[in-house]
């Protein structure tokens, strides 16, 4: 095993274990851990299996196979980041609606109280 593939394998196993552990301790929701688990699993696979790494490199025309690992890591990070952006958009939308509802409710309560006091 080349040094770089050994290095990549170890790093990806650490990432995989970290994500599993965070999920186990309820510090990371399952639905957000899936992409991480999938990415690190694929990365481990290509780090360990020389044959698949070389095969895929040849298919997509990469001269130096270990750089495929970096390419994959980079692509996964982009996908995960876009995924996060959609989650942030959804959260800010929910946050806006909640804020509006609270303000509307407060006004309703206030005006009802006003009527009761008369």
């Amino acid at each position: 095993m080349e040094l770089i593939t050994l290095f990549a394998t170890i790093i990806n196993i650490i990432i995989f274990i970290t994500v599993v552990e965070l999920t186990r301790r309820n510090r990371l929701k399952e639905r957000y851990s899936l992409l991480w688990l999938f990415s690190s699993f694929v990365m481990i696979w290509f780090s360990v299996s020389r044959e698949s790494l070389h095969l895929l490199s040849r298919v997509i025309g990469i001269q130096y196979p270990p750089s495929l690992i970096f390419l994959l890591g980079f692509l996964f990070l982009i996908i995960i980041n876009i995924h996060f952006s959609t989650i942030i958009s959804e959260l800010s939308d929910q946050n806006k609606t909640l804020t509006q509802e609270i303000a509307l409710l407060q006004e309703t309560v206030k005006s009802r109280r006003g009527e009761g006091g008369k």
């Binding site: 806006k96 303000a103 509307l104 006004e107």
Partner: protein, 233 residues
């Protein structure tokens, strides 16, 4: 006809009282709703003391979300017409009947008060004027109807649009964006000549760089509005 005038206000303690008084004098039949968008001054207290209904957003949500809060209030409380009226004293209550008439007659779903239909009614900083001119050209082409004042926030809408807005209202540049969305949803847009004041208090200094930056952002937002899935009517 139940009419609600929605007044978005952010730190307008110097202007809000005059705005409310002005509206009460000219449209006594309408109800006034001040949407306080997280002001840190006494805007809310002053609005209460002038006997307007006040909705206090717990923190600043931005003009789009603040306006939508007003439309949601109008939707839930069965209003037939909602008017947008700035809390900074720029809009004039004596112009309100002109904005309302086409809606009352059923000739339009939304009316927009325009400063530019009759020339010479309004003068502002040159960068702002040029920006508005370019923007109105672009929007006019996009929606196939002549729009002269796309950034005007002096508007009236009927019940159908109140319901539409409660479901979806643009956040970033609500005035020009709303025109594109409403057109795509098939609503009838009318512009009405309107007099406006220059801002009374506070500064709104617009530099050329800011104007260009604003233009680019608005054009991007509108382009997205054109390809966006439009919520149903």
């Amino acid at each position: 006809m139940k009419i609600l005038i929605i007044i978005p206000a952010l730190n307008e303690e110097l202007n809000i009282g005059g705005v409310i008084d002005d509206l009460k004098a000219y449209v006594p039949e309408a109800n006034l709703l001040v949407v306080n968008d997280g002001s840190t001054d006494s805007t809310a207290e002053i609005a209460y003391s002038y006997r307007a209904t006040v909705i206090n957003l717990p923190f600043n949500l931005g003009i789009g979300a603040a306006m939508q809060t007003g439309y949601r209030y109008a939707e839930r409380n069965g209003y037939d017409i909602a008017v947008q009226f700035d809390g900074d004293g720029q809009h004039r209550a004596d112009q309100l009947q002109d904005i309302l008439n086409p809606i009352l007659k059923g000739n339009a779903d939304i009316t927009v008060g325009s400063r530019f239909i009759n020339k010479g009614l309004y003068d502002a900083e040159l960068p702002r004027l040029i920006g508005i001119r370019i923007l109105s050209r672009i929007i006019s082409i996009f929606i196939g109807q002549k729009i002269t004042d796309p950034t005007s926030g002096f508007r009236a809408v009927n019940r159908k649009i109140i319901e539409f807005y409660s479901r979806y209202y643009p956040d970033d540049y609500p005035e020009p964006e709303a025109l594109v969305l409403l057109h795509r949803a098939g609503f009838r847009i009318h512009e009405v000549p309107t007099l406006m004041r220059k801002r009374l208090m506070g500064n709104s200094s617009i530099t050329i760089v800011k104007a260009i930056y604003y233009m680019i952002k608005v054009i991007l937002a509108i382009t997205i509005d054109i390809i966006k899935k439009v919520p149903g009517r």
